[in-house]
Subunit: 108 residues, 2 copies
């Protein structure tokens, strides 16, 4: 029997993993090089301004995204190098979401 | 610009993915075919009985693990087929954890 404590899970990664909106933001930014707030909002169905503002702020301070202010009216968001490393997380979530539809839910 | 809404993230998957203890349980069970409660507890540093009990119950009803009662004193837990589909997630979490140590944290 192996010990499984060799690779403790890093808690900051769970801040991203467990958050639907952060995963959606990473998804949108992964397909676009630099987006404005309104462009991100438009591509994420159901997100509201307060939620998007809060998530972007958190993700900037976690070094997942960069915020570049070219002018007051021209602020662009993009994934950092670390943010790009979160893409396998997205793929794994999508893989698991697919699997959930393949296998029956609870047997009880 | 692509639409990124093609693969909506399934919300129930985030119940599993964002939980540190559930990921640890999946990790331990992925390396062992059928474990008793005490064996799981022993392999997960820092988990207490109440937390492990609750997580195992949730994961059974979410069809992530199977609970097989051979006798009152002999109950084994193992990953279901769906539970095994969560393993890429564990790898992605480990990948991201590695990346976090490679890139500097916040610049501010």
């Amino acid at each position: 029997m192996n010990s499984s404590s060799k690779e403790p899970i890093c808690l900051p990664s769970l801040k991203i993993l467990g958050d639907y909106w952060k995963l959606r933001i990473i998804d949108v930014l992964s397909e676009n090089e630099g987006l404005r707030f309104n462009e991100i909002a438009r591509q994420i169905e159901g997100i509201n301004t307060a939620t998007l503002t809060k998530r972007l702020k958190d993700m900037c301070s976690d070094n997942i995204i960069n915020r570049t202010e070219h002018s007051r009216a021209d602020v662009l968001y993009e994934l950092t190098d670390l943010g790009k490393e979160a893409l396998p997380l997205l793929h794994a979530v999508n893989h698991f979401s697919d699997a959930m539809s393949k296998y029956p839910a609870s047997k009880k």
